[in-house]
């Protein structure tokens, strides 16, 4: 009886182990020669939590959006995903604004914020489809991540997380394995040159533990088992306004200009445990270069390589003036005047 039970159990166990993912460590990809430098910059900024009391996550992602735009990445190359509308929330005492500081100096939800995925469109499926490029054919261009081989991608996630997962919309979650698989598919399709993965949630380090694709530098606001804390509350609005890690990261980015030579190594040291309370985790083993030699603007700004044009080879022209054919159609006269049945001029006495 016992023997049969153990046989059955071991049979079932065998089925289980055969189905587990085989994490192929594709470190042979390191040997593939990668071109120096990048040609353009993209940013994917995601806020995954809804409800009024998660105001700080929206403020986080909008503040990073502003910094990234200020440093030069155009809106056409930023994908902004915000899961809930705080500015027009009925509980917002300052409607049409989102602040990231209790002194309410900057409205981060200004006139020029372009949200690409809003509200219930922020789902795990849409996020994975966006990263892997498998969107349905009619998707507008602003909702597609059109990166190529030479693109440096900044991925910023904020919300509520746990050990190995990130919660989306309070109803679903993305696991760290799925995130790693999505990034691997991006690598296979040559959709990024280098990726900087920033995550500001509880137990953030668990999300990047399973990465196995090369050229990814990852930083998380807390290690496994630690919670990331928020910075301060705004009594006028009534909620926590911003998270600690993002607050200090923004402080750092405020001092960065498009021409600055500041390195990523300094950025990775931002927010020590004395101010952040949680320990900032960094994963740099998959990153080919030394963060000491990487400029901040490689990920946060947009600096393009240029070549001067030495000589101009003369090209004969065909015509000086092109004939612009403007189709002129005379519309047929569809209307004619019909006199009224009753002539009121004669009737009115």
């Amino acid at each position: 009886m016992f023997l049969r039970g153990t046989v059955l159990f071991s049979f079932l166990l065998l089925l289980f182990t055969n189905s587990c993912h085989s994490q192929a460590q594709n470190f042979n990809n390191f040997s593939r020669k990668v071109r120096k430098g990048h040609t353009n910059n993209w940013a994917v900024l995601v806020d995954t939590s809804r409800f009024w009391f998660n105001y700080r996550h929206v403020a986080n992602v909008l503040s990073i959006y502003r910094s990234v735009k200020r440093l030069g990445i155009p809106d056409s190359q930023i994908i902004l995903m915000i899961a809930d509308d705080m500015a027009c929330n009925p509980r917002n005492p300052r409607p049409a604004t989102v602040f990231n500081n209790a002194n309410q100096h900057i409205n981060v939800y200004g006139d020029d914020v372009e949200v690409d995925y809003r509200g219930y469109e922020v789902t795990v499926e849409n996020f994975v489809r966006l990263l892997t490029g498998r969107l349905p054919p009619g998707t507008p261009r602003s909702k597609q991540l059109l990166t190529d081989e030479g693109s440096n991608v900044l991925v910023y996630l904020t919300g509520h997380g746990g050990d190995g997962f990130l919660k989306f919309q309070d109803s679903e979650e993305i696991t760290s394995q799925e995130m790693a698989d999505a990034l691997e598919q991006m690598w296979q399709k040559r959709r990024y040159h280098e990726t900087f993965f920033m995550i500001d949630t509880c137990q953030a380090a668990s999300m990047y533990e399973r990465f196995y694709s090369p050229n990814i530098l990852a930083v998380g606001s807390s290690l496994v088992g630690e919670d990331s804390l928020s910075h301060h509350v705004d009594p006028a609005i009534g909620v926590y306004i911003i998270d600690r890690y993002t607050y200090y990261a923004l402080e750092f980015l405020e001092n960065v200009t498009p021409q600055s030579n500041n390195t990523m190594a300094n950025f990775l040291k931002v927010c020590p445990p004395s101010v952040c309370i949680s320990t900032v985790g960094v994963r740099s083993d998959l990153f080919r270069r030394d963060p000491e030699h990487v400029h901040i603007t490689d990920f946060f700004g947009s600096v393009r390589p240029i070549n001067l044009l030495p000589r101009v080879t003369n090209q004969k022209i065909v015509t000086r003036k092109s004939e612009t054919t403007v189709p002129v159609t005379t519309k047929p006269n569809k209307y004619r005047y019909v006199p009224p049945l009753v002539n009121f001029d004669t009737i009115a006495q």
């Binding site: 071109r35 059109l146 600096v303 070549n307 044009l309 092109s322």
Partner: protein, 385 residues
């Protein structure tokens, strides 16, 4: 029902024994039938219906397609079968100066060059005017303004926010023509602080900018007629540089066709190879029949393209390379190729085990009964013999 009579007892015992035997037989048959239905039929049917559907793929062929081409150090132009060329005419001072040039004129004169390139890609030319937009980072130098070489990388990004070059499904090549203010002529200086004669520069993969200063006479007359030949020549040179062409002679075009065909074949092979690897690694991706068909077409055409290129037939090789590239891209970015997010393999077992295990346990336990019954029947047969 027990009979109390002694003989009756024995009789009923034997009756019961006979009945018992028959019932025991029926019991054993029912256990065996349960076993047959659940294990022999049920498990294979469950396995078949909950498997991830995968169409037949030439996986081995796809794995064989290893790319062995050396990669060029610098980035060339983005690989695509179609391109948009966006001509932007940037005029910061429309009130102070009229400029007599039309996008269509430039387009008509670019067509001869684009026709030469038509075997490798299709081009759609668009043009737009941007008013009241300036280029930043200018430094004053006596009576004219200067853009130094090291500031040029920072010029493109602020300009790009206004260009709106992302509204089409094709990659865009930007050709910008900038007319500085009459009172502020702008020149580009290289790193040695010498004036660059062409007054133009380009960024690989993005496009080029040409700064055309209005001359003094035009400024006085408030009407500027740019030298169309100069503009077209600069743009054509920029396009040549972007496509990494040395010239426009027949040999150059042929070299371009060969290099493009090789690039397309290499990219297709890479795509198919990585698709094969992905589909083997992540087991929970569904492969529909359409995707399987597209992959087979791509594999077939890439082999044909290879053969044509080896034999020197560039045109056919390019044609088949383009077909294979198109189908491989379609297959790779098919929206149905999404790993089953909420139905991974181990969770499938976690769902079905609590369902099947309670049923299976009694069936497997009663196999012992079957063995005992079979042994007793054999013994009885031996006894009867």
């Amino acid at each position: 029902m027990c009979a109390t009579d002694q003989s009756g007892n024995r009789k009923s015992e034997s009756y019961i024994n006979n009945e018992d035997e028959k019932e025991a037989d029926y019991r054993i048959y029912s256990v065996l039938s349960y076993f047959f239905v659940l294990v022999i039929i049920g498990i294979p049917v469950w396995w078949y219906t909950t498997r991830v559907y995968r169409a037949d793929l030439p996986i081995e062929e796809m794995y064989k397609l290893q790319s062995n081409r050396r990669i060029n150090k610098d980035f060339g132009i983005l690989l695509s079968l179609e391109y948009d060329i966006l001509i932007s005419l940037v005029h910061p001072d429309p009130a102070g100066l009229d400029i007599d040039i039309k996008g269509e004129d430039i387009d008509v004169n670019l067509q001869p060059f684009l026709k030469l390139l038509s075997p490798i890609a299709n081009f759609v030319v668009k043009s737009q005017w941007l008013y009241l937009t300036e280029l930043g980072y200018q430094r004053k130098n006596d009576d004219h303004y200067v853009l130094r070489e090291r500031q040029l990388p920072h010029v493109i990004s602020p300009l790009e926010t206004k260009l709106w070059s992302h509204l089409s499904p094709r990659p865009t090549l930007n050709l910008v023509l900038y007319f500085p203010h009459c009172s502020k002529p702008l020149y580009i200086h290289n790193s040695k602080n010498e004036r660059v004669e062409s007054n133009a520069f380009l960024s690989p993969r993005w496009g080029g900018i040409y700064i055309l200063n209005p001359d003094k006479n035009s400024c006085e007359n408030k009407l500027f007629q740019p030298d169309l030949e100069r503009v077209v020549s600069t743009f054509v040179t920029q396009l040549q540089s972007l496509f990494k062409m040395n010239g426009i002679s027949k040999e150059d075009i042929r070299a371009l066709k060969i290099s493009k065909a090789e690039e397309i074949v290499a990219s297709t092979r890479r795509t198919l190879n990585s698709l094969a690897r992905l589909l083997s690694e992540i087991n929970s991706i569904v492969i529909s029949d359409e995707v399987g068909e597209k992959i087979s077409i791509a594999v077939e055409n890439v082999n044909q393209a290879e053969n044509f290129l080896k034999s020197g037939d560039v045109d056919n090789g390019l044609k088949h390379a383009k077909i294979s590239y198109y189908y491989s891209e379609e297959a790779f970015s098919d929206p149905s190729l999404l790993a089953l997010l909420y139905f991974p393999q181990d969770q499938k077992y976690a769902v079905y085990i609590p369902l099947f295990l309670p049923i299976m346990l009694p069936v497997f336990m009663s196999l012992k009964l079957v063995k005992r019954w079979y042994a007793s029947r054999k013994l009885k047969k031996q006894k009867e013999e």
